[in-house]
Each structure stands twice: as structure tokens, then as C-alpha cells.
């Protein structure tokens, strides 16, 4: 049996942002969503390398949309989280929840 995939913090953020955006997840909306939810400015380079890495791990898939004029006729690359990706991010979040048990942190609601 293959070892479970481990995720870094930024990988989890990107996966959760894709899940939140559903069918509209591409680099521009992902950066905006990450900024809105975490107040963190992800550089385009960091985002692209993370998305490529997640795709190599089989945690996300991508497809190209139709070219649009405001992008100089270039297609958007939309991302979707795979079942393996959902499983990996859920496992990581459960681990965080277990670590939080018994702790009282300011502004953090406990499950």
C-alpha cells in the first residue's frame, strides 16, 4: 500500500482555494481567493510551481478553457481537486483538528 501523500502548508491553502472556487479556479482567481482568505500574497511563480507539483502528485487535474480577448486570446487553465486530493487535504485538516484538542487559541473555534 502506497504511503499517504503529505502536504505542505501552501499546498493545503491552494487545494482549499480550488475547492472553494469550484469550476472557476485558475491562477488569477486562486491568487485573489488566497489573498482574501489568508491575507497572504502568493507570487505567480510560487502558485504555478505548487499547482504543477500538485498535478504531478495526482491531487489536482487541469483543463484549458476557451481563449478570451482580455487575455490576448490566451486560454485559462482551470484546476479541479481529485478524490485523492480531497482525501489528502481532509487528512491534513483532521491532523490539525486533533492537535487543537485541549488548546485554547485566540480566535480559533474548535470542532
Amino acid at each position: 500500500m502506497a504511503a499517504p501523500v503529505t502536504l505542505g502548508e501552501f499546498e493545503q491553502i491552494v487545494l482549499l482555494a480550488i475547492l472553494r472556487l469550484k469550476d472557476t479556479a485558475y491562477a488569477v482567481t486562486l491568487r485573489a481567493e488566497i489573498k482574501a482568505c489568508t491575507n497572504r500574497t502568493a507570487s505567480p511563480g510560487a502558485l504555478y510551481t505548487t499547482l504543477d507539483r500538485l498535478e504531478e502528485k495526482g491531487l489536482v487535474t487541469s483543463r484549458y478553457g476557451d481563449p478570451t480577448p482580455q487575455r490576448g486570446g490566451r486560454a485559462k487553465r482551470f484546476f479541479t481537486v481529485t478524490a485523492k486530493g480531497v482525501d489528502a487535504v481532509a487528512r491534513a485538516q483532521r491532523a490539525y483538528q486533533r492537535l487543537l484538542v485541549g488548546l485554547k487559541l485566540p480566535g480559533v473555534a474548535h470542532a
Binding site: 511563480g45 510551481t49 504543477d52 482580455q70 487575455r71 490576448g72 490566451r74 485559462k76 487553465r77
Partner: protein
């Protein structure tokens, strides 16, 4: 006006043409509010991140390829020295055969002068040949490294440059160059990095373009 084709070409050095076009589209979309400087800074940052990812993905492989590059370059330079020596020998023999040079005497001083005011043609030819050999060997090293790293053609070249710079710096220090000061040595090396590594990347890009063309066909 930003040159989007140049931007797309730069990104296509690290990812597929389709991905590069999509990334440029993303950057163009955001650049409408953020401006041209942001566009180019983000683009260069993205290319650097993608190449760094390729290096970090398999660092030992990249390091061994860089070492192979050093060996190939040393072999090519040694071959160039042999070719130059044989070439000058042949010219000398030919000159003696037609009576231009007397074998009983030393070569005329004007021929081999290293005086800055009147550098001898032999020294000029040797210098030009040396630079040409260095540039050609860099091009060949780029090709060799790219052939062995499909999909990540530029990553071993970057590691090769870093290794080469460290070796060169070590040699410069060992040969007493440190007396000019560390900053002088570092800036001297950095000045040489750009012209001497253009052919290295050109060789690697040629292989990458060849692969992309084969794939497209």
C-alpha cells in the same frame, strides 16, 4: 507596450508552450490593474521559480549532470588546445617549407609580441581561437546537458554555471587573485557569466526546441 511574445517564449523555456501561453494570459489579466513593471517582475520570478523547482526536484541528478558538463568542457578545451598546437605547427612547417621562416632562428619578436601597444598576430590568433573555443564548448555542453534532462533542459545548465563559478572562484583565489580583493574577483566573474553562458543556454534551448517540434509533429 509589453512584448507578450517574448514573455511567452521565456516561459516556454521552463514549461510547455500551452502552459506558457496560459500563464502569460494570467499575467496579462492582472497586469491591467498592476502595470507593466509588475508583469515583467512576475514573469521573471515565475521562470526562476519553475527552474528552481526542476533543480530541487532531483538535486543529485542535476549536480551529477553539472559535473558531467565540467568534464565535457575540459575535454573540449583540451581538444581545442591540441588543435591550436597542431595548427600552429602546420603553419610553422609550411612557412619553413616556403622559406618564410628560418628554422635556425627564433620566431621574429613581432609575431609573438605580447606588448599591449603591438600585440603579435600569433597572440591575437591564439586569443581569438581561445575565446571561440570557449564559446563553442559552452554551446556543446548546453546540448549535452539538455539531451540528458528531457523536460528540464535549463535546470542542469543553471547548476553547471553555479558549479563552474565556484570552481573558477576557487582557482582564482588559489592563483593569488585574492590580492585584488573579494569584490573585484566576484564582479570580474559575474561580468564573464553573461557573455560566456549565452551559448550554454543557446545549446540547451536548441535541444528543447527540437524536442517541442518533434512533439508537435
Amino acid at each position: 507596450m509589453r512584448n507578450v511574445h517574448l514573455a511567452e517564449w521565456l516561459l516556454s523555456l521552463a514549461v510547455s508552450r500551452e502552459s506558457a501561453a496560459s500563464m502569460v494570459g494570467d499575467l496579462l489579466e492582472e497586469a491591467r490593474t498592476r502595470g507593466t513593471v509588475w508583469f515583467w517582475l512576475s514573469l521573471v520570478g515565475a521562470v526562476c521559480s519553475l527552474i528552481r523547482r526542476d533543480v530541487a526536484g532531483n538535486p543529485m541528478r542535476m549536480l551529477s549532470l553539472a559535473m558531467l558538463g565540467v568534464v565535457v568542457q575540459l575535454a573540449l578545451i583540451a581538444a581545442a588546445i591540441v588543435v591550436f598546437a597542431l595548427g600552429t605547427l602546420a603553419v610553422g612547417v609550411a612557412a619553413m617549407a616556403v622559406g618564410l621562416v628560418d628554422p635556425r632562428h627564433q620566431p621574429p619578436t613581432w609575431l609573438v609580441s605580447t606588448d599591449a601597444q603591438a600585440v603579435g598576430p600569433f597572440v591575437v590568433a591564439g586569443t581569438i581561437f581561445g575565446y571561440a573555443a570557449a564559446l563553442v564548448s559552452q554551446f556543446q555542453v548546453g546540448r549535452v546537458l539538455a539531451k540528458r534532462s528531457p523536460g528540464h533542459e535549463l535546470a542542469p545548465c543553471v547548476v553547471f554555471i553555479v558549479v563552474g563559478e565556484l570552481v573558477l572562484f576557487g582557482l582564482n583565489v588559489a592563483m593569488g587573485g585574492i590580492r585584488y580583493g573579494l569584490s573585484y574577483l566576484a564582479s570580474y566573474q559575474l561580468l564573464l557569466v553573461i557573455p560566456f553562458n549565452v551559448p550554454l543556454f543557446a545549446g540547451a534551448i536548441r535541444i528543447r526546441n527540437g524536442r517541442a517540434a518533434t512533439k508537435a509533429a
